[in-house]
Subunit: 906 residues, 2 copies
């Protein structure tokens, strides 16, 4: 979700006659549902319900602008506000016939926070405001219930003391506990009126001790202080953190609704409850909620008494239940969305206290969207908008059984938290080295790879693992990126974790955990547990509702969705997920498999071209098989193959000397010496900017030759069997026309050779990555000699920003994001103003030469919804995310098309 | 000089009636001086002289187009050419009354190469063509000189055999030597006619043996073969290499002039010589040349007989001398430039064989330019164009005495060659470590620092050295770049050299040279010698002619010329050289001085901000002194100070543990452990793209604070003494507005503090480096909050091209340049299409916000003439080269203004 920014102008610039307060009185409210920004979700909902003739206790809402003016004015209520509050109060008093502070018939109110964006439980609310010694007595007399009045008073002082006076809540809880102990009471409800009176006295002592003054008895002072406290809660730590996580702007402010109190705790004909119009967990179409007889709202939340299922209310209070379910259905239809409702029944009379769109799980979101289309409530476009791309991701990932997680926490097996780098849940035996992971996997074990951090050499081990845990690195570290690519659960940067590679142990929270011990990680939350937690693995084929939503998304979207896939398995899976082609098949992974790596290494060590060619011949025989299988898996769909990209020294990290000696025919000491020398020679200060990509292919054109032979040979092989192979050969890191001309010529020359050898025409396309700024600048020239572009936005981000992805996370990027130096991590969501501007230059110039040039993007950003929205606007042809993000990318692409209103002909 | 490209269309596209041959007959030539591209310098010169009525032997020139057509057609003479040659030949025969192959009165010709750009001695010429047994006899009869005829024949076969038939020249030389030995002759001239006859017989045997055929006796066949050989010599190795070095396009082709032979060896009334209209070494205004009586041109060049000074000719052949000097003066006036002439006097009659603009030394270029303005031959603009920026550089550098170099070569003290990385000559004792360099310098020794390669830690040692020699690295390696910055002679990448740091020796060419041995390096040629060679050091103050040329340049140029200078000494020197401000004062060098480094290290090791601040306080006291001196040196001129830029780990390379322990109060083992841990923590995969520049200042704002305090404090201190300090504070590596806002606020806040403390206003400017692509893209935004930009084209080149300067040279960049993948090393001369385009975006956007924004460039490119030309066209305000390139930059800036025709108001 993009950050929501405020449209408020600073208070000082506004006319003095600002309307700060909006009334809602039975049948007539000054606000409505469209005024969320000004009245908050709660205020807008109360106004809308009021206008709809629903039973809402009278009250008024103070605007979010008042909150902002409060902060802009140095935490002072803005001019005119208090007068408007008093006017609103007078109106409420006229409506109810009660008066705030009236000892005989006191008006009590709740003071409730409510922001534009729902922030459940993040800000504060004060109930029962207006009580003091006199009004309490009046309330007792009026209700004929001393205990109720003392309990309401006790609750008020406790809540007001904690929230408004900012006294540590535990002070009150201790006093209450002491009273219960003294009275030998188990529950709060076991305390008698007299005993509660004692508690009130204790609470007032606490206030006097902590604040040096008596508890404020003037209800108007109470009201003013409570309003300020609600405003202040906007910048409370919880609320602030929530906004950070959910990317909500800090300058939106909260509204504050002052609502006549109704009491669900006035006896057994009273109740209070919360409900959803459909099940927010499963999406099932049935009202779903909880209630308590004779209780106030906070009791439901606090969990002191166990609430009952809403359906049981029908038997207890049939009239209230019927009224409520009718209203709930009306509201769902009215809002055309599942509603999250709060209600109170006071002495048999139903009052609606809140309605808002319900938060829902991924599963529920999908089901509700599909059901509502079927029910004719929303159209397909709306359904596509209602499901979030992250919902789709979540649906495809294994997750822990929530009860098992609870149990593990209770049993003290929660080891702590790292960064949630790649969602999904995984359980397995901890291993600390890639080789061991492969070995144990070979023995049929499920393993979790635990490392200080990972490198490309760990790839085989990562593939073998069910999940990855590292003690270092951020959300764009190697581990995180590869894990997301593989769709593996991954937790990184768990700072309390120390891995001792020598001893094959890890230490965390004072515990030493040996290799082979069972560990569980939740990549969605970052939590790590000791022991095995049962996981639930969804089956994509069975997700019929999801298929429906994605089918609708496909009707709408303009962007193609391809996939980054390197293996036939990945290709097959991606195809099932709806990928329309392979946007990036990386060939270097094909070099890293254990039986091949020694040949790659021998090739790198070779002193002469002739010797290199000998080893390349062997590698060709491996690669041709890979390509055959990939083409077969993608039969009829294009496969963009990027030639070898990483620097050669990456292949020399771990070496099987014996095998290399065997292949090269050297003695082992000689092989060792060669390896050392070559390593030193290939060492680079900044490998990211070094001898890699097409530079490597220029220096060693025989590698290029081998790869072209393998690709086109593979294509020719499967074509004979009737497979429609569509290879597209892609050059990495091209930055100059000199490189492009050289490479293109070499490719065409080799292709002609292969065609001659095989006596057949092998159709293919030729294109380039656009991943360094210079390529964007000369894109018009490049387009003259290429059939497609693919933006490599990972590298482009590194070069446009001058930031090393490998290093920045640990040193400054996290800090930059935290301190808002930059709005988001540019490796997660594309930096639209910088990297995006460069992408636009590349697109514009490329299309100047070839208006219908096919332009894709195959960086990590291809799976990020905000980036997908940008790529849609930039006019790209397709995005190519990692396999498991293909479905969510289809959805995000459709949402981008809806938002932009532009549908291109694909 | 920019590469000269050909305007020739391929021969196949030309009409068939192409004119391949241009005649020159006494008084009437078909070509003229403007047709250099088509006729070559020689052909155009012969035509022009002919038209001017000067005595030029009749002949014709075959065009460069014919040469290109020859290669395009697969080394075949193009259609129609041979016919035109025969027509030309007939015309010459008519003119001279002689006929090629005529036994009675044979026409002999020379066949001479001549390209558009002068390539002295690089291509081939055949003299005496037309001789065979019959014509030789005819020649003998005609001249009455048997010996002369045999000698001419011998020379012809030898020259033709070597050049046209491509027989190893030594074969002929050995045969000649054998004949001399047999005849007990010392010199060739001691051989009699008969003996020469024997030599001819031997030569013909050699031809038969080597080529399996007789020496071609048909003069027409000789002519055709010779023309083809001249064409082929265009792609001879020498010519190819020369063009590479001098950036001359390979597709220009050579012309071929066929000229009637005149003989300077027809007796004592004959002579041959070469001359310059002014001394090409000193520029002195006096005819300068050499001649030999009774000799052919090749004898002058071959050095077998010692030529005599031209002035002596007056006594020997007064008429010829007078005629020649008159013609020489006419030609200089005609061409308005010093001429390089060839002449022959045949039996008293003068013939002009060549005129061309003379190559000249730096000193001569400057003097001639100034003199010619005074003489009214050229104007100031022309004078500024006549001196090359590299001439200016050369004039300021120490150089070896040429005779001493010759002697060293003779004595076998030439050790070999590396890359000429930074010009100038240096002699000193070889040392292999920076510390030792400092130590021995301290003892009053002059040292040369010899390293495998250098790193920033060697800086102090480099400063202490008189020159630098490395066995690894290219022209943009650390050693090369720093040396150029310091104006130190430097030879890098001497591959035959091995440095043994442990033994403190170096090995080269089988010799082992110990520390302390005297070595000499010539940074202009890359040559390295054993022993001390005397150097000549120019005194800038005495270079009055240079001052004059630069003063004229200053009148013309639009670009400002500032300087990159980090020390007061450099500032003072640069000011003398004409720098108008400091465009880049790097503060990190101030951190590296030996007494300070331990404090820097302690600061880096500090665990808390408080501790860091303690050490920074100490560093502030050092830096404030630096700035005081720099401001005083630049009194009245702006000084742009870049805050600390490199990653912190660069300061942890070499550590004095004892000193760090003392400063931090840790025990030595603890200090060691801290250092190790911090090093590991700060390690980066790609430090170039890591935690450096403004990122460092954001993470450690206390460093920024310290530097601002030191800069403004220093400025305030000297202001009190009447110095007009003009500090301009520059942020490195800014890429986002978030960074800029944070840094700007911090700077302004600190500045306000310092002003309050000192109770004085301290004026300064605030600006940014523009050195990553994103900064160019958001330059309009950046300009809103800054007072100046300075392009850091080194880093911008790295990021726009995605190339690491540290690595690329050794791995692929040299190869790229060699194989023409890119036209020039982008770190030497700015990549105009890529990096330049990005610079233009930055300039355009910055000036959109602030039309008069001051924009400089402080990368290495600021000293490169081609780059300066680009920066002029891009509308920059100033360039800031290293100190020693300030004078040449002034000249280059003026040349850019002349070329562009645009003069901006500075």
């Amino acid at each position: 979700m993009a950050a929501v920014t405020s449209q408020h102008a600073p208070a000082t610039e506004r006319p003095t006659k600002t309307k700060w307060v909006f009334l809602f009185m039975p049948g007539r409210a000054e606000g409505n549902a469209t005024m969320r920004a000004l009245l908050g979700g709660k205020g807008a909902g109360l106004a809308e319900m009021t206008n709809a003739g629903l039973p809402v206790p009278p009250g008024f809402t103070i605007t979010t602008e008042a909150c902002n003016a409060y902060f802009d004015g140095g935490r002072k209520l803005p001019a005119g506000l208090w007068d408007q509050v008093l006017e609103g109060l007078a109106a409420v008093e006229r409506e109810t016939g009660k008066r705030l502070g009236d000892a005989k018939d006191p008006l009590l109110v709740s003071v409730r926070s409510g922001a534009q964006m729902s922030m459940p439980g993040m800000m504060d609310t004060v109930l029962n405001l207006g009580l003091n010694d006199e009004t309490r007595a009046g309330l007792a007399k009026l209700t004929g219930n001393e205990r109720f009045a003392w309990d309401a008073y006790r609750r008020f002082i406790q809540m007001f003391g904690r929230i408004v006076l900012e006294i540590e809540g535990s002070e009150f809880e201790h006093a209450l506990e002491a009273a219960k102990k003294k009275a030998k009471a188990k529950l709060d409800t076991d305390l008698t009126g007299d005993q509660l009176k004692g508690v009130v006295a204790e609470f007032r002592k606490i206030v006097r001790k902590e604040k040096g003054r008596d508890f404020p008895s003037d209800p108007r002072e109470q009201l003013r202080l409570a309003i300020e406290a609600v405003f202040r809660s906007w910048f409370g730590k919880r609320a602030h953190d929530y906004r950070e996580v959910n990317k909500i702007a800090h300058d939106l402010g909260t509204a504050c609704s002052v609502v006549t109190m109704v009491f669900g705790n006035m006896g057994n004909d009273s109740a209070t409850g919360v409900a959803f119009t459909r099940d927010p967990n499963t999406g099932e179409r049935a009202i779903f909620g909880e209630y308590l007889i004779n209780a106030q709202g906070e009791d439901v939340v606090a969990g002191i008494r166990t609430p009952r299922k809403l359906s049981e209310l029908e038997a207890e209070l049939p009239k209230g239940y019927r009224e409520f379910t009718e209203i709930a259905q009306r509201l769902e239809k009215h809002y055309r969305d599942v509603q999250d409702l709060e209600f109170t029944i006071e002495r048999g009379r139903l009052w609606m206290l809140q309605t808002r769109s319900a938060k829902r799980t991924a599963r529920a979101a999908v089901r509700i969207a599909v059901d509502m289309v079927r029910e004719g409530i929303i159209d397909r476009k709306e359904a596509v908008k209602r499901v979030e791309p992250v919902h789709v991701d979540q649906l495809l990932l294994p997750r822990f059984d929530e009860k098992a997680v609870e149990r593990a926490r209770m049993e003290g097996r929660a080891l702590g938290k790292g960064l949630n780098a790649s969602p999904g849940a995984a359980t397995g035996r901890a291993v600390f080295e890639a080789d061991r992971a492969v070995e144990m996997k070979g023995k049929g074990e499920t393993v979790l790879l635990v490392r200080p951090e990972t490198s490309p050499d760990d790839f085989a081990g990562m593939v073998a693992a069910a999940g990855i845990l590292t003690s270092r690195g951020g959300s764009t570290s190697h581990a995180a990126v590869v894990a997301r690519g593989l769709g593996l659960p991954c937790v990184v940067g768990m700072e309390t974790l120390t891995v001792d590679l020598a001893k094959r142990t890890m230490k965390v929270g004072g515990r030493t955990i040996k290799e082979g011990a069972r560990v569980s990680i939740d990549g969605a939350t970052g939590e790590v547990f000791l022991g095995e937690l049962p996981t639930i693995r969804p089956d994509y084929d069975k997700e019929k509702d999801l298929h429906q939503v994605l089918a609708w998304a496909d009707e709408i979207r303009a962007l193609g969705v391809w996939v980054n896939a390197d293996t036939p398995d990945e290709c097959r899976r991606a195809r099932k997920f709806g990928a329309e082609g392979v946007g990036l098949a990386r060939t270097e992974h094909m070099f890293r498999e254990s039986e091949r790596l020694p040949y790659v290494q021998a090739m790198i060590l070779a002193a002469t071209e002739q010797e290199r060619r000998k080893h390349l011949k062997k590698l060709e025989s491996f690669q041709v098989k890979d390509f055959r299988e990939i083409f077969a898996a993608m039969d009829g769909l294009p496969v963009v193959i990027r030639l070898i990209d990483p620097p050669l020294h990456e292949f020399l990290r771990e070496i099987d000397e014996r095998e290399v000696a065997r292949i090269t025919g050297l003695t082992r000491p000689k092989a060792r010496a060669h390896i050392e020398a070559r390593r030193a020679q290939l060492h680079e200060e900044n490998p990211m900017l070094g001898l890699r990509g097409c530079r490597l292919l220029l220096v060693f054109p025989e590698i290029l030759e081998m790869q072209i032979r393998a690709i086109l040979g593979g294509a020719a092989d499967v074509a004979k069997k009737g497979v429609a192979a569509k290879p597209e050969i892609m050059m990495p890191l091209v930055g100059t026309m000199g490189e492009l001309h050289f490479l293109r010529e070499k490719v065409m020359e080799t292709a002609a050779h292969v065609e001659k050898e095989r006596k057949t025409k092998i159709p293919f396309k030729f294109g380039t990555m656009i991943e360094i700024p210079r390529a964007c600048i000369i894109a018009d020239e490049i387009a003259k000699h290429t059939e497609f572009f693919s933006f490599g936005t990972n590298d482009l981000t590194q070069t446009v920003l001058g930031i090393s992805r490998d290093d920045a996370q640990k040193s400054f990027l996290t800090r930059y994001v935290e301190e808002k130096v930059i709005p988001t991590d540019p490796f997660v969501s594309i930096d639209q103003d910088g990297v995006g501007a460069m992408v636009r230059i590349g697109v514009e110039r490329g299309r100047k030469t070839k208006p219908d040039l096919k332009i894709g993007i195959c960086g990590e950003h291809g799976g990020d919804p905000a980036s997908i929205d940008f790529f849609h606007r930039a006019g790209l042809t397709y995005v190519s995310p990692s396999t498991f993000r293909v479905p969510s990318a289809r959805l995000a692409a459709a949402q981008a098309a809806i938002a932009g209103g532009v549908v291109r002909d694909r």
